[in-house]
């Protein structure tokens, strides 16, 4: 029996050994991702790589939905018609145009997430330690933070802020619109000295002093809007402080000093041939400007588009003949995409060989009509706009001199220097092939901005500043004054108790 006992004990020990030798500490090496937590739990990112990310994330703004849709469909320059079954999209577009969005609107939510997460990326650049950002990288990150945060402040009127080391359980603090304004200006002013000086280029995809100055001009021009309290009645008409307007002019002059001038050929701004206006464009691989023509071109063009957005007849009526911004007819020569004009596409459309296009949806000649209903529209309703052209589309433009030029003119106008303002406006009009204006007032200033900058994403900001955002226009009858800011998305309110819903929603 003792032999048996021995063998049993041995087996038992063997078995126990097997059991315990097998134990693991459950630590698995990360080999497919970079752990950005230091030993002590602090954030330890790579500033250079993350800065690339922050630039890359500008790509989101090329999408026709989300942030871009909040910027353009709610203004009087664009309508997103539901064409039969097309573009119904659960009403998401119509709610924007008719000013009837609410806190559950998909793009109100998506834009919030999109913009704020980009702010966070720039925070990560600034907090990186391996390696830490150099002074220029810090400046670029601050510029980008200001750029993204400006969108948040402008659209939503409140700006949440999370430090890099604050985990999921921390509710981000919230900056008021006025606090956010100061935060953004401070970022830009701190960034300025360390940013590189860069003159105009078709590939200006890095923050420069001109970019910071252009953005500062925009901020000071709208300061009256951003510091006014918004309640259910909207806000008091913005005031335009002399000192703020002087700042607009000062920063615009700084842009000019870096060599930016009006482009001889307007459409070159949106092409690979751009020369003198482009201050900031998206990097290669960061989004694609092609969405801007796909979103409007009819299915039967070459290239086949998505037959979506159109301009409003009243907006088109603001252009005079001869103004190149109104449009240049196509010159079809058989080469790819030569059938497509530039500017507004109106009436019968032709293919690359100059033959009339047949609309495959109604089997009739494809001719764009001026008016478009918001729902029940036909496939050829509404004039289309082509700034980026399939033949030679350039990088997606974020900031360009044409805007700066008009901002300076507006600041002069608002500071009573009407003559100088008129000179600047006419300088631009002549280059664009339009007749000089005899006089300049707020209304004609807004119209000129519309003609110069249509579909570039700034119309809503302009209309709010000029007080016309709560007017009515085609298929838009709602005049709720509180809609000058969007609601905080319901899911954001649910996830951060520091956020308070904007008045009226």
């Amino acid at each position: 029996m003792s032999y048996n006992k021995l063998s049993k004990s041995l087996s038992f020990l063997l078995v126990l050994g097997l059991v315990f030798s097998a134990c693991t500490d459950l630590e698995v090496d990360e080999v497919e991702s970079v752990v950005t937590e230091s030993e002590t739990g602090e954030f330890s990112g790579d500033a250079g790589a993350l800065l690339q990310t922050a630039y890359n994330q500008l790509g989101a703004l090329t999408n026709q939905a989300n942030t871009y849709s909040l910027l353009v469909h709610t203004s009087d320059e664009m309508i997103p018609p539901t064409r039969g079954t097309d573009w119904g999209d659960n009403g998401v577009w119509r709610l924007l145009h008719s000013h009837s969005w609410d806190p559950t609107h998909q793009y109100v939510l998506d834009s919030w997430n999109e913009l704020n997460s980009r702010v966070f990326t720039t925070n990560q650049v600034l907090a990186s330690t391996s390696p830490a950002p150099n002074p220029q990288q810090t400046a670029e990150a601050k510029f980008l933070r200001a750029f993204y945060m400006w969108h948040v402040m402008d659209l939503y009127g409140q700006v949440p802020f999370r430090e890099v080391d604050e985990g999921v359980d921390v509710d981000p603090r919230v900056l008021t619109r006025a606090e956010a304004f100061d935060f953004i200006v401070k970022d830009l002013e701190e960034a300025l000295p360390d940013l590189p000086v860069a003159g105009p280029s078709a590939t200006n995809d890095q923050a420069s002093q001109a970019a910071a100055n252009a953005l500062l001009s925009r901020l000071y021009l709208n300061r009256g809007v951003y510091t006014a309290t918004v309640n259910e009645q909207g806000a008091l008409a913005p005031t335009f402080d002399q000192a703020d307007m002087a700042k607009v002019i000062e920063h615009a002059d700084a842009v000019i000093a870096d060599g930016y001038t009006l482009e001889e050929n307007y459409y070159n701004n949106f092409s690979i041939n751009a020369q003198s206006e482009l201050i900031l464009v998206n990097a290669e691989g960061a989004g694609n400007a092609e969405n801007r023509y796909f979103m409007t071109l009819h299915y039967d063009h070459n290239p086949s588009g998505w037959n979506g957005f159109a301009t409003l007849a009243d907006f088109y009526a603001k252009f005079e003949d001869g103004d190149v911004r109104k449009g240049i007819a196509a010159s079809p020569d058989g080469s790819d995409f030569s059938g497509i004009g530039r500017g507004f596409l109106v009436g019968q459309q032709f293919d690359d060989n100059g033959d009339p296009i047949t609309n495959s949806r109604n089997n009739l000649p494809l001719a764009y009509e001026a008016n478009s209903a918001l729902i029940g529209a036909d496939t050829d309703d509404g004039y289309r706009a082509i700034k980026y052209h399939p033949e030679d589309k350039g990088r997606y433009v974020q900031l360009r001199y044409g805007d700066v030029h008009l901002m300076k003119a507006e600041a002069l106008l608002r500071n009573g220097q009407t003559g100088e303002a008129l000179t600047m406006v006419n300088e631009l009009r002549v280059v664009r092939g339009a007749s000089p204006l005899a006089s300049l007032d707020e209304a004609s200033m807004l119209d000129e901005r519309g003609r110069e900058l249509y579909w570039e994403g700034i119309r809503r900001v302009d209309q709010i500043r000029f007080g016309t955002f709560t007017d009515t226009w085609a298929e838009k009858t709602v005049t709720d004054p509180f809609r000058i800011v969007y609601p905080i998305p319901q899911q954001a309110i649910d996830s951060n108790p520091n956020l308070v819903q904007n008045p009226g929603y």
Partner: protein, 1006 residues
């Protein structure tokens, strides 16, 4: 199965005999032969001296010889499938026994985690389906074998595609994300939950469905499938047990029985129901009518291209399937083996879709060291070749193959005069061109194997080590030629390459201790350790802008991409994940007086999926059963009556790997493809996860109360179970409070998902004579599902199609069932043909859900002479399906735009300008009853043929008819319409259609 368990008993008893030590008392010897009327000599029958552990088993010829202590002893003869017999020895020295078959196999064995149990001793809710009860027909993967056969187990194929993904819901749906499938355990090796085939990459028209992870197992190798349903049964699998556990046991050789078996079948499948589309003339008339055109209008001349094409006929086919299996097995008391080869070639009823599989399996076992050590090996190798039709889950305006076939103008010809497919424009893509100008194939090789050492340390104590491995490698290649007129492919050509490789290794060690503590208390205990490691690697490459339109070159010569800037591009990404699971587990069963049964289970699981603060979870369970029929006060008419009750906590850890460390990765690159060029969207370095050290498993608390009963000597028997499952600490993607590195992060949400229900099974042996026998088995399960204490609102159920971007149909909210429909109530059309929404143009809960209330199964088996007939009905009641297909394709607006529609759209009162928003207009009652399987078999009398042991021919019809009000192709459908990884349920969108199959089969044994 029977033999497998007998062998285990043989081992146990043999070792008991060998190690019981020498008996010194006076002895006498008894011998005899055990037989049965049906089988003659019975090997492997246990012969035990009552009240002791000494005994023996019968040899191959049914003979036994046993030495008894002097005095009056009683021998107990037992064998699975036969009634026990007790004989007082008295003065006898020869005792021959004729065993009587226990027709109602109440003493059948169920496989539970880390062991087996007799069903009569079970305390938990376990459904066991044996090979003879499996579904027949064209069966691509194992779970189809038990579809409808086990109460409370809902099995939904996502479509009719060969090898399509599956949804198995045991006792309802309890998680609000993917990972609702049960844990699969094959011969003791738990499988990883992931799909091991190359995923459906987006080549421009949406992503395709996941594949079935069980495709690699040849269904004909399976001996039994056991489904552990309640927590007391699944707690032994701890953090993976919450969705139930499906244990697959493969066939083994039998001692003393050399067998060569060949089975084959050939099946013919056709689509059950096509959509009732307009023909060319009807289409032109309807188009004129909806657009207010008069005959001869120029628009009509342009529309009508003169042909009359049924595009559905162009893509559907009569599919032929064949299946061959060859196996041989044998062995003796010391070792058994079984080797099988299988070949399956299953065509899908959509052109170009097929699944071909070669499998080889070896199961063997051998005993050493005086039978104290038993070594068992099970190995499967499979080679699966899939060919896919271009059908996706979420095609947009262009549609996928099915969408194209449904909507394309029927006046278009199929081909141009030169034989190439007729393609008019990118918005009117031709399904025929889509089939011919593309290819999409996958090849998956998978090997699953294990070796088990079972060592009897003493009579009572044994130790088992299992080493298991599961290795798979899959490659999927898809290419679409630039000749194809489809947006995103046109002029450029597009290809995608996916590689997935997975390695899952297992080491388990456990002790089993069986002992009679006293004359009436028996204890069985299991105590063990388990370590499992899951490694998964993927590589993904997509390309666009090819210098060739030759598909073969595109697939096999990637450098054909034009890499000049803007003209073409190659983009991709790769991943590598490792997860580990380390567990300690134990279980104790007490059997007191054969009447009171108690089970306690505990498992501690440590998982790398969770944050450092919560690495380990503890999962306890308790259960008891009371065999009332053994009590004196219960009338004898009740053959069997057992009450069961159980309680337990189980977990779920099916979330992506490492979601708790702050880490960053370069995101997938994507391609913008248009005729104007190809551009790469650079993948930026982005956060993958937040620091989240508290992340832990989801836990499910379940109570189960059941009763098993049998009367008339168990000719009528059944069971009833009530359960209530409460899942909380839901693993959930919640919205991050911005600014944040990610839109979502994973959290354990403090909300409850409750599944409550009743399961009833009934088995009746209505007639049982030589000439005629009739068995009926029925099961029904009722489940009620709801979400409680949930503060958020989550949208899911993505609805796709032209003009439906961003639309959704389901919302998860407090007080609602999971995936409750959130729609506009539809009130018909107004005079102008616009939709009326009486309760406003806003989405709201409409009191409908996609989860069935009732799951039903009814099987009738008839035996008459050499004939047998099996008829199986399955049904689901109370569920609603959202018909996204109809929403996207069958509206007046679609017709007005020149797309074909179903007959009912014509004159439905809808205006051409009406936008068909997501509403109850497209929600349909999808209750159904289906004649799932009908098999008529004939067993030839082989008595006179010495070399032949059995020969069977059978004819099977699958899915012969469906009774339903659902207007779509088939009511049993579930396309993946997840939004932000929150799954959906019950949405139909151009699903691969279901087939009706007739199959002729042969089974011969030598």
């Amino acid at each position: 199965m029977r033999i497998f368990t007998q062998l285990a008993y043989v081992m146990l008893v043999a070792s008991a005999v060998l190690w019981s030590g020498a008996a010194l008392a006076q002895e006498k010897t008894v011998s005899g032969t055990v037989t049965s009327d049906a089988e003659g000599a019975l090997p492997g029958v246990n012969v035990l001296v009552k009240g002791t552990s000494s005994g023996t088993v019968t040899d191959l010829d049914g003979n036994y010889r046993l030495t008894l202590p002097e005095g009056n002893s009683t021998l107990v003869f037992s064998s699975i499938g036969y009634a026990n017999q007790e004989v007082e020895v008295g003065d006898q020295t020869t005792i021959d026994i004729v065993m009587v078959e226990d027709v109602q196999a109440l003493s059948e064995v169920v496989v539970i985690g880390y062991g087996t149990q007799e069903a009569r001793d079970a305390t938990g809710a376990v459904a066991s389906v044996k090979a003879e009860d499996f579904n027949g027909g064209v069966i691509a993967s194992p779970e189809q074998l038990i579809q409808g056969k086990a109460a409370g187990v809902q099995i939904t194929q996502s479509s009719g595609e060969p090898g399509a993904g599956i949804n198995i819901r045991i006792r309802g749906t309890s998680s609000v994300r993917s990972g609702n499938n049960p844990l699969f355990v094959v011969d003791g090796v738990p499988l990883a939950g992931d799909d091991v085939s190359g995923g459906g990459a987006d080549t421009g028209f949406g992503t395709s469905s996941a594949r079935n992870p069980l495709n690699f197992i040849n269904p004909s190798d399976i001996a039994s499938i056991d489904v552990l349903k309640d927590a007391s049964a699944t707690a032994i699998y701890g953090s993976r047990g919450a969705n139930g556990v499906v244990i697959i046991t493969t066939k083994t050789g039998k001692a003393g029985e050399s067998k060569l078996n060949y089975s084959a079948n050939v099946g013919v499948s056709n689509i059950t129901k096509k959509y009732d589309l307009l023909n060319a003339d009807e289409f032109v008339d309807a188009y004129a009518q909806v657009n207010g055109l008069s005959a001869g209008d120029a628009a009509l001349q342009n529309l009508d291209q003169g042909a009359d094409t049924d595009w559905q006929d162009q893509i559907f086919r009569t599919a032929i399937s064949q299946n061959h299996n060859l196996s041989y097995s044998g062995g003796n008391d010391n070792g058994q083996y079984r080797l099988s080869l299988g070949y399956t070639d299953q065509e899908g009823i959509v052109e170009r879709s097929s699944l071909r599989r070669l499998t080889a399996r070896f199961n063997g076992s051998s005993s050493f060291i005086n039978d104290r050590l038993k070594v068992t090996t099970q190995v499967t190798i499979s080679d699966i070749r899939d060919s896919f039709a271009p059908i996706s889950d979420n095609a947009g305006a262009t549609g996928d193959l099915l969408g194209m076939a449904l909507k394309l103008n029927p006046t278009y010809p199929v081909r141009n005069p030169d034989g190439t497919p007729f393609q008019r424009s990118v918005t009117e893509a031709s399904p025929v061109a889509f089939l011919e100008l593309g290819q999409d194939n996958a090849n998956t090789v998978r090997a699953l194997g294990n070796i088990t050492f079972d060592f009897a340390i003493t009579d009572d104590l044994s130790f088992k080590t299992i080493l298991g491995g599961d290795r798979s490698a899959s490659t999927r290649k898809a290419a679409y030629s630039g000749d194809l007129l489809v947006q995103g492919i046109e002029g450029q050509g597009r290809a995608a390459f996916d590689d997935v490789s997975a390695i899952n290794t297992l080491m388990e060690n456990y002790f089993t201790y069986n002992r009679d503590l006293s004359s009436n208390i028996r204890m069985e205990a299991v105590l063990g350790y388990s370590y499992q490691r899951f490694q998964r690697e993927t590589n993904f490459v997509q390309a666009a802008g090819f210098r060739t339109t030759d598909i073969d070159v595109m697939l096999n010569n990637l450098a054909a991409v034009d890499l000049t800037t803007g003209n073409g591009a190659i983009a991709g990404n790769s991943t590598f994940r490792v997860d580990e699971l380390q567990s300690f587990f134990g279980r104790v069963n007490f059997d007191i007086s054969d009447k009171y049964l108690l089970t306690a289970t505990l498992r501690a699981d440590g998982s790398t999926r969770f944050g450092e603060n919560n690495r380990y979870g503890i999962f306890p369970a308790f259960a008891g059963a009371w065999r009332l029929s053994d009590e004196a006060f219960v009338p004898d008419g009740l053959t069997d009556l057992k009450l069961r009750a159980g309680y337990g906590v189980t977990g779920n850890q099916e979330i992506p790997s490492n979601l708790f460390t702050d880490r960053q990765r370069y995101q997938d690159e994507s391609l913008d493809v248009s005729p104007t060029g190809v551009n790469i969207n650079n993948g930026a370095l982005s956060n993958v996860a937040f620091p989240n050290p508290d992340l832990q498993w989801e836990s499910t608390t379940q109570i189960n109360v059941g009763v098993d009963w049998g009367i008339l000597n168990n000719r009528l028997r059944g069971s009833v179970d009530y359960y209530r499952k409460n899942t909380n600490d839901l693993l959930f993607q919640v919205f991050s409070a911005q600014p944040a590195p990610q839109e979502f992060f994973w959290e354990n949400l403090d909300a409850d998902v409750i599944n409550e229900g009743v399961e009833v099974t009934l088995n009746a042996n209505i007639a049982d004579s030589e000439a005629f026998a009739w068995d009926v088995s029925a099961n029904a399960a009722y489940n009620d599902n709801r979400v409680e204490n949930f503060e958020g609102l989550i949208n899911t159920g993505d609805i796709d199609g032209q003009g439906l971007s961003g639309a959704f149909a389901q919302r998860i909210a407090d007080g609602q069932p999971l995936f409750a429909y959130f729609l506009r109530p539809f009130g018909g059309f107004d005079d102008a043909g616009q939709s009326i929404y009486p309760q406003g143009d806003v989405q709201q809960f409409v009191g409908r859900a996609p989860l069935p209330r009732w799951n039903l199964g009814l099987t009738n088996n008839f035996y008459a002479g050499n004939f047998d007939l099996s008829v199986f009905f399955a049904g689901q009641l109370g569920q609603y399906v959202y018909n996204n297909t109809q929403n996207a394709f069958f509206t007046a607006g679609a017709l007005a735009g020149g797309n074909n529609v179903t007959q009912d759209v014509v004159g439905n009162g809808e205006s051409r300008g009406n936008a068909p928003e997501v509403s109850t207009r497209f929600l349909e009652d999808a209750s159904f009853v289906r004649l799932q399987n009908f098999t008529l078999g004939y067993n030839f009398n082989t008595d006179g043929i010495e070399f032949l042991s059995s020969l069977r021919l059978y004819l099977t019809g699958q899915n012969l008819f469906v009774i339903t009000n659902y207007s779509g192709q088939d009511p049993e459908v579930n396309i993946n319409k997840a939004i932000d990884d929150i799954p959906s349920f019950g949405i139909d969108y151009t699903a691969f259609p279901q087939a009706r199959t007739f199959l002729l089969g042969l089974n011969v044994s030598f």
